[in-house]
Each structure stands twice: as C-alpha cells, then as structure tokens.
C-alpha cells in the first residue's frame, strides 16, 4: 500500500474512534434533553383556571378571593357557550326525525369535547371520577382539546398498501345552517378568556400526593417510596459490604476458598436484575415470609443483595488504595491489627467507600425489575415509616413503567410521566455527580 493510502486509513481510523465517542455523547443528549425539557414542563407550565380550581378544592391551596373572581369572569364567557348549547338543543327538537338522529350523534361529540375542555357542563350529573370534575388544567392540553372540538379526526383507508393516514374535517361545516355553527369561532377566539391561562410554577408536583391515579397532583408517594427502598437497601448492604471488603483485603489468604468467594461476588454482580426479583419473591416473601406479600422491607432486602457486589468492590478498591505505610506506621506504634483497621485504614478509605456507596444508592433508586414482585404497587398514598415492614409502596421507577405502559390514559398524562422520569434521572445523576466530584477531590488530596 502506498504511504498516502496508509495515512488516509490512519486518519479515518482516528475519525471512527472520535466519531463513536461523539455518537455516544449525542445519544446521551438525545435521551436526556427531551426528558429534561418535557420533565420541567411538569413543574413549570401554563396553567388554566381549572388548575387553580383543582388546587383549591383538592389541596386547599390558593387565594380564594382571586380564584372566585377568576371563576366568575371565565363563567361569564362560558355562559355564552352554554347558552348556544341550550339554543341548539331547542333547535334539535324541531328538526325532522332523520336529521335529528344525525345531528344528535354529532352534537354528543361536541358536548364531549366541551366537557373535556371546561369540565362538567350545566345539567351534567356530578362525575364520579375526579378527572372529570375539572376541565383542562394545562394550556397546551387545552389547545389539543380545542382542536378536537374544531375538527373531526378521520382515517384515509383508500390505499390498502400503505398505512391509513389521518386527516381532519372541520365540525363547523357539519353544523352549517344551524345555530351551533357560531359556537366554534366563539370558543376559538375566546379561549384565553374562557380558561385564563397563566404561567404556573407548580412546586406541589414534588410534594403533593396524586389525585385520581396521577391525573392531578404530584409524585410525593413515589419519591418517598424510592427513598425508603434505596436507603433501606443501603442500610443492609453498606455495613455488610464494608465488612466483607475488610475481610477480602486484610484477612483473606490466597487459596481455593478465597477465589471461590471472589467468583461468587462477580457472579452475583452478573445476575440479571429480574432474577433478583424472582429470588426476592421466592425467598424473602414465600420462604422467609418477612411480610405477608409485597413490602418495602422485602424490596429493600432484594435491592440490597443486588448492590452488595458493587459496594464490596468499591470498598475493596478504596481500602487497597490506602498506602501500605499507614498500616506499617500504626502497627509499629504498637497498635493491634483490628485497631489499625478501625482507626487508620477505614478512616483513610472512607471517602472512597462512600463514593462507592453513593453510586450504589443511585443504582438501587433507579432499578425497577427487582421491586416489581417484591415491593412496588401502582397506586397508593405515601406510607408511614412504621408501615415499611408490612406494606408495599409506589416507587418512581415502577410507576414510570406503570403510567407509561399500563395506565388507562397513558397519553393524557405524559407530562406526569416525564416529570417522574426527570425526578428519577436527576436523583440518580445528582448522586453520581457528587460521587464523581468526591472522587476527584480524593485523588487530588492523595496526590498532595
């Protein structure tokens, strides 16, 4: 090969390497950016008067005077809409029978769209579910519903070779010649006055419990559950892991038994997380019966055995990084081995051990599979500290799955899902970031 080609190959080799790093960085961005931007939307958004109504009646928050004046002002505009509805109903009675059937069906769709926008209409029975008691609380959702009100969605199936395409038909055309036709431009033009949008900082998203399976309210039960599970797992795994690491680094003699123990450790690190869940179910719940069924304690124990190998490895590395001279110095001063470990080695290794602990804490907080069968429930309120032995808890990781895949109206509450994902990701990344910073500081300190 001539030298030019070799150089081109060399350059392109470099380019491939750098390219793959860039792809990784871009991938991280592509994953993280929508999560952050949409997740922030759960806390900062343009809220409507319905949101403030909901807050006031569900959480007793807000200025009641301001709210009642707002409600009064929006009701003034809504009254016109409702007036048009009653006019049309009267008109409907006068129509010919076949036309009446046709318009009645169309009118029912309009009513449904209006209900979604503004909450129950006059004359509707009091709804059973909280989600139907209020109209759209978020402005961008309200705009979607407005579109539903203005246009009918239809599917084009004419070409069987490609997937059906959706297209929209204006509803106003359908009501041409009736009194209702005025309603559509009216609602469209007066949306802001009907719903009074206003920039909202809903801090309650973090601290409120959910209302009507996350249609309204916050994610406090999930955050608390994640906290209980992760901290509980650490309570079991951290002391065990550190003691085991002390044994491996200070006492274990090379030999068959020791290499077996080490193999066991790496095997445990490689077990798929879902198998931990099965084991937790089969062992902690069905055999040991630490609780009747799912409980925080069973989940924490399962997570503990999952993070144990990580903690042991991190602690081992931290202990091995302590200079041998400390050991010698302490022993030469007449300290016993145990005393040396407790007063010199562990304190010197502590930052490293804690770094490993923090990373494991993040892993325990983020893991889902082990808690599916052992600790997690989809809906529920925050549990007290006394209930950890007996009751299961909602948790961020599990509820993200549950809301996104199994919730009956998953597409309606995307903002809650994004908010949860952002909460979880930021908890985990904060923990990791602090571990990275801590580690950088340690290495600086050790260098002098």
């Amino acid at each position: 090969m001539n030298i030019g080609t070799r150089k081109i190959l060399d350059r392109s080799f470099t380019a491939v390497g750098i390219g793959s790093i860039i792809v990784m960085a871009v991938a991280l961005m592509i994953v993280v950016v929508p999560i952050i931007t949409n997740g922030i939307g759960a806390v900062f958004f343009t809220g409507t008067v319905e949101h403030r109504k909901m807050l006031f009646s569900e959480f007793k928050r807000g200025d009641s005077e301001k709210l009642s004046s707002e409600v009064a002002s929006s009701d003034r505009y809504r009254a016109k809409v409702y007036g048009m509805l009653t006019d049309f109903e009267a008109e409907l009675e006068t129509m010919a029978p076949e036309k009446k059937v046709e318009y009645k069906a169309k009118y029912a769709e309009v009513r449904a769209a209006l209900q979604a926008l503004f909450g129950p209409l006059p004359g509707d029975p009091e709804p059973m579910l909280t989600r139907f008691k209020y109209g759209q609380t978020r402005w961008e959702k309200a705009e979607e519903k407005l579109h539903d009100l203005l246009y009918e969605t239809k599917w084009d199936n004419s070409n069987p070779d490609v997937m059906a395409k959706e297209y929209f038909v204006s509803r106003a055309i359908g009501f041409q010649g009736t009194s209702l036709v005025k309603l559509f431009p009216y609602v469209k033009d007066n949306m802001e006055k009907l719903l009074l949008p206003e920039f909202t900082f809903y801090w309650g998203f973090i601290t409120d419990s959910s209302v009507d399976s996350h249609f309204f309210g916050g994610i406090w039960p999930e955050i608390q559950g994640t906290f209980f599970l992760a901290v509980g797992a650490m309570l079991f795994a951290f002391p065990l892991g550190v003691v085991a690491a002390v044994y491996f680094t200070e006492y274990a003699r090379p030999g068959f038994l020791n290499s077996m123990l080490r193999s066991a450790n790496s095997t445990l690190a490689g077990v798929p997380s879902i198998v931990f869940g099965m084991f937790g179910l089969a062992f902690f719940i069905n055999t040991l019966k630490v609780s009747e069924s799912k409980s925080v304690i069973a989940g924490a124990l399962t997570l503990a055995i999952m993070i144990l190998p990580t903690i042991i490895r991190a602690a081992e590395e931290a202990i091995l990084a302590v200079p041998k001279t400390y050991r010698e110095a302490s022993l030469s001063l007449g300290s016993s081995k145990w005393n040396t470990i407790a007063t010199v080695i562990l304190p010197a290794a502590l930052p490293g051990i804690i770094t490993g602990g923090i990373i494991s804490l993040g892993r325990a907080a983020g893991e889902t599979a082990p808690i599916i069968f052992t600790a997690a429930v989809s809906v529920g309120s925050a549990i007290g500290l006394a209930d950890v032995l007996t009751s299961p808890t909602p948790a961020l990781s599990w509820n993200i799955y549950n809301l996104a895949s199994e919730h009956e109206a998953a597409a309606q509450i995307r903002h809650v899902q994004y908010g949860m994902v952002l909460a979880l990701v930021s908890i985990v990344l904060m923990l990791n970031l602090s571990a990275i910073v801590l580690r950088a500081r340690i290495s600086k300190k050790l260098k002098g």
Partner: protein
C-alpha cells in the same frame, strides 16, 4: 529515660505474656476473623440461595411439561386451559435483541475505547470518562420510557427516511474508504509509475460510481420501508446497545491500558502509523480483555428487563423472515416481568413455574458467561505480566 512509666522490673517481662492470656488473644483473634469470614461468605451463600430457590421453583415445570415443548415450540399460551408453554420464540427474541445490540455496541464501544486510551489527549479523556459513567447510571426505566414514548413514534412515523439517513451517514464513509483501499491494492502490482497512476485514478472513478450507485439503490429501498410498529426489535436493540456501551467501553479501555507503552513504542519505532500500531499490536495484545468486555456488555443487554418490556411489543413470535428487526418480539426477561403478576396467584401451576424455568435459563447463561469472562481476564493478566 526509656521507661518513664516502667522501671527495671517490668522491663524484662514487657512483651511476654502468660500462656493463658496468649491463648485468649489467639482465640479472640480467630473468633473475630471467622466472624469477618462469615460476613464475607454471605455473598457466596446468597449466590447458592439464588440458584437453589430459582431452580426449586423451575424444576416442577419440567416435571409437569418436560423439556421438549419449552425449547422447540413457539406456541406461548400460558393462560389457556390447558396452557401451551413453547418458549422458543421468546428465547429467540432474547437472542435477537442481544445480537442486535451487540452489532451496534461492540464496534462502537471498541472504537470509543481505543479512542479513549490511544487517541484523545488526557485532558479530554478526563471529561469523557464521567460522561460514560453518567450514561451507565441512567436508570433502565428511563431508557425504556424514552424508547416507548420518543423513539417508537419516531420509528413508526418516519421509519423509512430514518433508516435511509442512518444508512448514508454510517455506511458511506466506510464504502468510500473501501474504494480508496481497493483501488490502491489493485494497482500496487503495476511497476511503471505513470501507468499505475492512470490506472489508480481510473479505478477510483469506476469504483466511486459503482459504490454511489449501490448506496443510492439501497437507500431508496430503505426509504420506502414502512415500519408497522415502533415497538420492535430494532428500537430495543438500539436502546440496549446504549446501555451496553458504557460497560464495553470502560472494561475494554482498561484492557487496552493494561497493554504496556513499550509494545506501542516498539511498533511506532518500526514506522507503523497509529492505526496500524493499534490494529496490529495493541488490539491483539488486549483482545482477550476486550472479549471479556464484550461478554459483560452483552450480558447487560440480555438481562435487561424494563426496556424490552416497554418497547419490544411483547408479541411471542419469530419474525418473518427470521432476521426482520422491524417486527415486535418478546424476551425472557419481559415475559417474567409481565406474567408473574398473574401467575403469582396460581402458585404451583405450570404457568408459575415456567417463569422460574426462564429465570433459571437466564441465570445459567449469565453464570457461564461470567465465568468465561473472568477466566479470560485472569489469562490476559497472566500473559501480559509474563511479557
């Protein structure tokens, strides 16, 4: 002076203690040590327990249904009466996404590891490592959510154009490179310089046209593809590859770092370019470490639950044709996660135990591959230290 506290009398007997005290000391030391050992062996006990408890609930399934159906049939109707428990399609689905993610993650991961260890200056490497750690730290459910809510609709609505762009961006540089190398190799034997140059240019142009034609043809075919569902094997493979990447990168970077400087310097001194040095000396020397990294990364993809559960479509079928990554599949982990909730109520039934059989299968695969990768790492360490 030496003994302000101790006079002549206890000077002689200062460090010799009575037999009884010495025995006590020894017993205490042994007791302490064995307690530490007990804690350390706790991990081994857990591993044994995991195997025992998963196997204990897995064996009844094979007693009731035997092995044949589980491994050879792809009829998965556990809820029927009588149920059918053919897991072939599910096992195939697991292997499919694992392979798919490996195809993406291994070349990228190894290239990134090489870049980190040999190409990038230290100052950039310092920042790249934490980024990779962050990628590893993102919880799997967040990736699953991304796959389901962001990637799946994208694939479903713009699948064809996306595939075409990926084809162009990822493949065309390599085709261009192949054109250059091929024309160089083919003309290398011509001795006369002028004729060689003419021939070289002619071949370059010819191959360029050929390859652009080929790229374009495949591109149009890809553009026309309609993806029926965004929750498919491709989606899952992409996301799983991102989850496997950090493991592959960091473990193979360690392996490459372990290959000493002297080997690299030896190669450079003989006039090799950086690429040649890495490909011909560093990679072979670190190959077993990289293999171990690949195994660990693949294991992460195989054992991952949330992403496949949320974004694989969960349909128990072998795609038509068998390599069609654009269809929904179902994996072992997702089946366990999804079916345990219902099967839990009927403890003792084949429906409950079949899930443990799947768990046992996963456990055995992970155990064996862990063992293999550990062996490989130990062997590499021995070889490298022997040099």
């Amino acid at each position: 002076m030496a003994g302000e506290s101790g006079g002549e009398c206890n000077r002689t007997n200062a460090f010799v203690v009575s037999a009884r005290k010495r025995t006590m000391q020894k017993v205490a030391k042994k007791a302490g040590e064995s307690m530490l050992f007990a804690v350390a062996s706790f991990v081994a006990v857990i591993v044994l327990f995991i195997f025992y408890f998963v196997a204990r609930d897995a064996f009844p399934f094979f007693q009731i249904r035997g092995f044949t159906e589980f491994f050879t049939s792809s009829n998965w109707y556990p809820a029927d009466d009588p149920g059918e428990f053919g897991a072939l399609a599910i096992i195939y689905g697991s292997l499919m996404v694992t392979l798919g993610s490996a195809l993406i993650a291994v070349p990228m991961g190894v290239a990134a590891a090489i870049c980190l260890s040999d190409i990038l200056p230290f100052s950039i490497r310092q920042y790249a490592k934490p980024v990779i750690e962050m990628l590893a730290a993102i919880p799997s459910v967040a990736f699953g959510f991304f796959a389901l809510v962001v990637l799946a609709p994208l694939l479903q609505n713009n699948g064809g154009p996306m595939l075409m762009w990926a084809w162009w961006i990822l493949v065309s540089p390599f085709v261009l490179l192949a054109v250059i190398v091929l024309s160089d190799l083919l003309t290398a034997k011509i001795i006369e310089p002028k004729r060689r140059q003419q021939m070289h240019i002619f071949l370059l142009i010819l191959f360029s046209f050929l390859s652009i034609f080929l790229l374009f043809k495949v591109g149009t075919v890809l553009y026309g593809i309609q993806i029926l569902t965004g929750t498919n094997a491709l989606n899952v493979s992409i996301i799983l590859s991102f989850m496997a990447l950090p493991t592959i990168v960091s473990v193979s970077e360690d392996a490459l770092q372990a290959v000493g400087r002297d080997i690299r310097e030896g190669s450079y001194a003989l006039g090799a370019t950086r690429a040649e040095t890495i490909l011909k000396t560093v990679l072979p020397a670190g190959s077993s470490g990289i293999l171990a990294a690949v195994i660990l990364g693949i294991m992460r993809a195989l054992g991952e639950t949330m992403v496949v559960w949320m974004a694989s479509g969960n349909s128990s079928q072998i795609p038509e044709p068998w390599f069609n990554y654009l269809q929904s599949i179902r994996t072992l982990t997702a089946t366990i996660a999804g079916d345990m909730g219902e099967a839990d109520q009927v403890t003792g039934s084949a429906r409950f135990h079949v899930l443990f059989a799947m768990g046992l299968l996963l456990l055995i695969i992970s155990f064996v591959s862990n063992l293999i990768s550990e062996r490989i790492v130990v062997r590499q360490r021995k070889i490298l230290s022997g040099q």
